[in-house]
Structure formats: C-alpha cells, structure tokens
Symmetry: C2
Subunit: 494 residues, 2 copies
Amino acid sequence: MNLNYKSYCEKMRKIADLNFASAVLGWDQEVYMPVGSSDARAQQLGTLAGIAHELFTAPELGELLSLLEKDESLSPEEKLNIKKSSKDYKDKKKYTNEFVIELSRCTSEAFQAWDYARKNNDYNHFAPSLQKLIVLKQKETELLGYTSHPYDALLDQFEPGMTTVKLEKLFSEVKSALVPFVKEIVAKKPVDDSFLKQNYDSDKQWNFGIELLKNMNFDFNIGRQDISSHPFTTSFSSKDVRVTTRINVNDLREMIWSCIHEGGHALYEQGLPESQYGLPWGEASSLAVHESQSRIWENNVGRSLAYWKYHYADLQKIFPENLLNISLELFYKSINKVEPSFIRTAADELTYHFHIMIRYEMEKGIIEGSIPVNEIPKQWNAKYKEYLGIDVPTDALGVLQDIHWSHGGFGYFPTYSLGSFYAAQYFACAKKNIPGLLELIEKGDYKLLLDWLRKNIHVHGRLYTAEELCERITGETLQFKYFFEYAKEKFGNI
Amino acid sequence: MNLNYKSYCEKMRKIADLNFASAVLGWDQEVYMPVGSSDARAQQLGTLAGIAHELFTAPELGELLSLLEKDESLSPEEKLNIKKSSKDYKDKKKYTNEFVIELSRCTSEAFQAWDYARKNNDYNHFAPSLQKLIVLKQKETELLGYTSHPYDALLDQFEPGMTTVKLEKLFSEVKSALVPFVKEIVAKKPVDDSFLKQNYDSDKQWNFGIELLKNMNFDFNIGRQDISSHPFTTSFSSKDVRVTTRINVNDLREMIWSCIHEGGHALYEQGLPESQYGLPWGEASSLAVHESQSRIWENNVGRSLAYWKYHYADLQKIFPENLLNISLELFYKSINKVEPSFIRTAADELTYHFHIMIRYEMEKGIIEGSIPVNEIPKQWNAKYKEYLGIDVPTDALGVLQDIHWSHGGFGYFPTYSLGSFYAAQYFACAKKNIPGLLELIEKGDYKLLLDWLRKNIHVHGRLYTAEELCERITGETLQFKYFFEYAKEKFGNI
C-alpha cells in the first residue's frame, strides 16, 4: 500500500477513535449517566473534542493531504476519500481558535438560557443569547465563504451542495401542492384515533419494539436499544450501533415509530463498510441521506398498509384489551391521521414539512438579517397561522420547542424534509427495481429492500453526496413529485 | 495561584479526562456493549491510553514537575501532589516504548490463550504465553529497579511501599495462626446453609440490593448500579461512580455481598475530593486501601450479627417462602460458614487468605525464577492440599481460575489480604472512636461510620500511602492481630 495513504489512514483512524469515544460518553450521558454527574462529563467531552480537533488540523495532515491530492497511483475510491478529507480539512482550518472557543462558550450559555426559557415560557430570557449566537453564525458564514446567500455556507456544513436556491424551488412546490392538499384532507371528517391514546403497558411496548427491530434486520449482535428522553441513534463503529426509544404508556405511537425511525438510521450505520473505519467512505453521506434511511422505514414502509397487514395481528395479541375490536383499516387510518399541530416532533408525515418550511424561512431571514431577534416569535406564529391554520398558544409550544438553535444548529432543519423527499424517490425506485416489494412487505420480509439500500446507498458511505447518490440510483436529481405522488396515492385513499 | 502549579493541574486534568473517558468505554464494554463490537472498542481504548501516556511522559511535564519539586511556596498538600506525580512520572519514564508495546501485545495474546485454556481445562495451551509474560515481567522488575527482591518492584506498582519482607512476616502469621484456627472450625459439625441455595427471584434480589446501597449512603444522584458478569466498581469522577453486581437466582449470597463490597469501594470513590480531580489527592491511596473500604463494609459490617439484626426482617418479608422459618441465628451462622473450597472469589472470609497466600508464594517463586512454568500447576495443587486440605480436581478450578496473570497483574493479589487486614484494624479503631457503633449498626445507621471513614481516609485521597494512613489513624503499622482477634471473636462464637 501507498505509504502516504497508509499514514493518512492511521491519522484518520486515531481521530475517529477519539470521536467515537466521545460518542460513547455522549450516549451514556443521555441514557445512563446519573443526574449529578454532568460537570465532569462536559469537561471530558471538551478535552476529547479538543484533541481530535488538534489532530485533524495539524499541519502534517494538511501536507499529507496535499501530496495525496496529486497522487495518481490511488484507486478511484481512495481519491474520493482524499478529496472529502481535504475539503473537511480546509473547512476546519477556516475556523480561528478564537471563534471556536467563543462559539462553544456561547452555545453552552444559550442552551441553559433556552432550557429555562422553554420551561418558563419566557422567550425574552433566551433572546439575548440567541442574538449573540446569530451574530456568531453570521460571522461563521463569512469565515466559511459562500457565493450567493450566506445561509448556503451553513447549509453546506450539514448537507454538502445544498443551497438556498434549491430549497426555494423545493419549498415553493411544498407550498403550492402540499398546503392545499392538506387543507382538503383536514376538511374531511376526522378519524377517531382515541384508542391509540389508551393505556399501553410499558414492558409489552418495549418487547414489541424489539421484535420490530429484529424483523427489520437490525443486528443486535452489533447493536442494542435503550431508553432515553429523546430517541436517537449513535454509533461507535459500524459494528456497534445504538438506538434509543421512548415509551409513552398513554400513546402507543411514540414507541413504535421512534423504533422504526431510529432502526432505519441504525441499518444505515450497520451497513457502512467496516474496513473504512475513520475514513469518509466509512461515514454516512449526509444528514439528508441519513434521514432518508430513517424515513423510508418509518413512513414508506412502517406507516404502510402492507407493513401492518403483517404486524397488526401480533400487536392485537399483545394488547387485546385495546385493539381486539379495532379493525386493521381503522388502525391504518388512525396512524396516518393528518392534523395540523404545534409540535414538529409529533406531526404527521404531511404537515411535518410545513414545520420545516417555517423553520427554513425563519433561519434564512435570521441569517440574512431581515428578521430581528425580537420579531422571531411574531413571524413564527404568523407562519403557523398561514401554513397550518393554527394559533400558536405560547412560545414554549412555538418558537422555543426545538433545541437546535440553542446548539447553534442553523441550517440543520431542511435536512429533515430533504430526507423524506429522498425517501419517497428511493421507495418509488425500489418498487420498480424489486419485483413484488409490497407483497414481500406484507409477509414481513424486508431482506430484499435492505439489500437494495445496502447495495445502492450504505456501502458507498460518504463517497458520493446526497445529490450524486440520487442521480446514480434514480437517474434524476431530487424531485418533490415523488413525495407528492406518494402522498396523493396514500392519503387520497384514506 | 502559582502559575507553574496551575499549569501542572491543567495538564493532569487533561490526562484524567482521557483516562476517565477510557473508564467509561471500559464500563460500557463490561455492562452493555454488544458481543460483536469488541474489535473497534479495543482499538479505541488503545488510542486513548496511548494519548494519555504521551501526555503524561511529555518532557514539558517532567520539567514542570522538576521546577515544582523545588518550589517552597506550595502548600503541604500541593507539595504532596507534586511528590506523587513526580514519582509516577519517573516510574512511567522507566518503561521504554518498545517494552510497553511488547507487553500490550503479549497480554492481549495471553488473555485469549488463558480464556481458551480455562474453558477447555488445558493449562498447556496457556503455558507458552504465560512463559513470555513472565520473562517480560522479570524484565519489568529490572526496568523499575528494586533493592532486595525483584517481586518488590511489581508489588510497589500496586501497593506503594509494600515489600516481600513485610508480606513474609504477615503471611507467616496467617500460616501459624489462621491455618490451625480454620482446621478447628472445620472439624466442627457444619451448619446446614442449603436454604441460601434455593430459588430467589432475580428482580426481588435486585431491589433488595439497591436498598442496601441506599442504606449504606451510596449516593445514587452521582452513581448507579448495573449488572455485569463480574462485579466491579469504576468511576468517571468522584461525582460519577458506577458499581455492578451479579445475581444468581440459586444463591442469595452473590448479589448481597457483591453489592455491599462494591458499595464500599464506591463510597470511597464518592468521598474523594472533587476539587482534586486528576491530581493524586483526588485519587485512591492504593489498592489495599481501596480493598479495606470494600472489606470493612462487606465483612466487618455486612457479615455481622448487628447488621442483620436490622436487615434480616426485610429480607424475610421479601422471600417469605425461603426464609420465614429460618431464624436470624441460623441465617447469621450460614452466611459465615467456613469451608475450604477451590475458588477464591467464592471463599469465606477466613479461607480467603489461604487463596491469597498461595498466589503470593507462587508469584514470588515465579518472578524470582524458582518455579518454572511447567511446575506451576503441580505446586499450586500441593499448596491447596497443604493449606486448605483439598485436592484440586482440575486446572480450570485451580491455577487457571483467575484472570490476573493473563493481564500481567503479578503483585496484585496480596492487596486483597492487606485490604482485609487493614479493614479489621480500622474497624477495631472505629469501634473505639465511635461510641455505640454496634448499636448504630443494629439500627441500620451507618452515618457516623461513614463520616469516620470519610474524615480519616477518603478526604486524603492519595496524599498518604496505606502505611502512613494506618499509622495516622490507628497509631500503629498494620498488625495481623486485629484481623485474628476479630476472627476469633466472631467465629469462636459461631
């Protein structure tokens, strides 16, 4: 093997060891850490991140990457690894030490302020920290650089290649097609889904969730599930992937679809090439691609009639007192009820995108400076009225509901919608490529679908961007029409 | 604050962050990690240990320590911190990189070989790796240096100041006093303790163990308990202390005394001064002192009649089918049954020390070269016959039972006996210092005992060695007589 390339791999793996160690500490923090232990943990995470950053921005790595960028003896995949790492290196080098420290201090303060503000429904308590963060984020767009809109610089950090121009086009379709379509649905007589909110025993829910994960081919030999207050997926290598779920004894939906959603993320992580540990090829392509993997399982598969034709009888057996008199049809309609609501994370799969569109429009305005901090709640509420037709009752249930801004995560939200739209496009393609896919799903057999995702997406890691993957697989760039067609077919029939 | 001292503190805390991060990864590995995830974890632990080692052996730290050793402006405690760190630094510097890598490679290989050998009762499978390890350990004694016996160099790494001469004296008393005393006990009619080996529900055992820990004042706000195959205590700061236990549904004893034992270790960790995070003052004094804290709770308190006068009624309520007809007296006699057996970890509190004495004699012989590798099983079995009067049936139940040698842990075992002997001496002292201590224990009130341990031992961290602590607290060096008097009083009455 090329000695320079070998040295690059060793350096990258050492950095990955540190980052995965941080991930273990982060997982423990959310899942098992005692409440009084947070101070030392924050310091330990800071130290690990600092050392990883030092190693990744060391001039020796930069020199090595420069050499390897010109090295024609590398394989095409090795060249792509180098290309991605060089971009990462150059991006990281754009941040001054001063900026990194200031951002870290500021997000830590903003998180505390946000946490208090949300609990006490007091936006003004959060506003000063938010203001500081926005100024820093605006500064970050200048550090990173952009060609047309400053928000593009932030988008690109979460979703390489994504721009405001592309999102404008996408969300204009959401606005013109989905908004009126949802209005039509909502005008109909709503289904009575109250049975979903009866009491469901916690242990029985847990066991059912584990069975769903096994059935999806989540590999418990190299993964596990635990409980946390916010479900998430994390990994410490493609051979150690952890999901968490949350159980609400008064709402069956939370556990089931958080399991399937995180299971989808986890299958992606378990499918990344183990031999590429620490290198771009061993990492997920982007947040949108990650979300496409969770959403395809959660919605296209996990909220389909075919899926429940297989699983519903089992669920009825586990909860006969709740479900014996509920038909599969009523169950299916209920789990797909469309209903405008305040909270993004509890939204159905259609109105969900209005929540994202609102955040996108707000963030774009905030970063370009057209929405001042004190205007944010007012504009937020106006948009909820416009797109969802609802009056936001409090800031706690409005602008303060999400943690993202307090972490400085401007540019993150759009990846949620992008993920769903990619999922719809991929699912349409998979149906074409895999004969009898729906019949297989009706039998609880997802092997061919998983193989298809593995072969087309997972094994490529970060070699291709979301857009490149989409074109390679479907022959087209991302098209909203696939999501809309899926929505019309499914919700037109409900 | 002295700028050099401040810089020393910062460097030490960064190293501690890495070591505690390793501890989190190690804890997860034993408690929750999926079976198929071990390769990446081993690599991550190696990287963290490597970076911590690099930081700790960096010349800048050495220069800083040299300066601070001569700095008269430091407080007495600061001076002790520097003294301990300098000793650690000099010890660490004695190891060549070559040696560290070779030892790490060799222990990794030896562990695999031992694991196979024990499962297949095949000592010869382990012997070649053990031989290599012994040669390395002999080399280590030369690297570290010693004045009279090479084994002293290894002892000192686990128990600063401990020597072969001191242990000879101690174990000669064990041999002359305890061996005949146990023979007397064993000659009596044995108590029927079969009720302890009935079926005890796992969940009920778990809940009882948690109550015992709470009652001991283990702080669950900054600690937790989980299940692992071998109980242990670990900490990620004095504000995050984890214990594990093991539940055997067919033997009530395992869970109860592993909880109390690990709880004792944990109270020590929770009592270390938080402000001294990463510095010697913030660390445990030695393995023997650590073991004294677990043993004082496990045996002097947790196997006493006073302790069970308080707890037994609760235990009977939880397991009425097993215990309603068992008197407190019979229970107390049964949990203190003395019975020679093959396995160290399952031994009673008297014969336990014969297991340690045997290992001590073996290790001393192995390191000085008087016991060749192929002689080890024969000599092991001969000693079990001599001291315990039993015929070891297989090497798996004999010389292969413990993991320690496969990790290269020669010099570790003696700290187990030292810990028990210190515990007896401390408990005798505590009874003098705390009026009505036994009456308090009978009421389930351990507050004053814990305060005494905190004040006399925990708050001093590693400022004093085990021997210094013992003299400060009891006015004497370690005396075997306290353990023997405790044994005679307790077991003479059973």
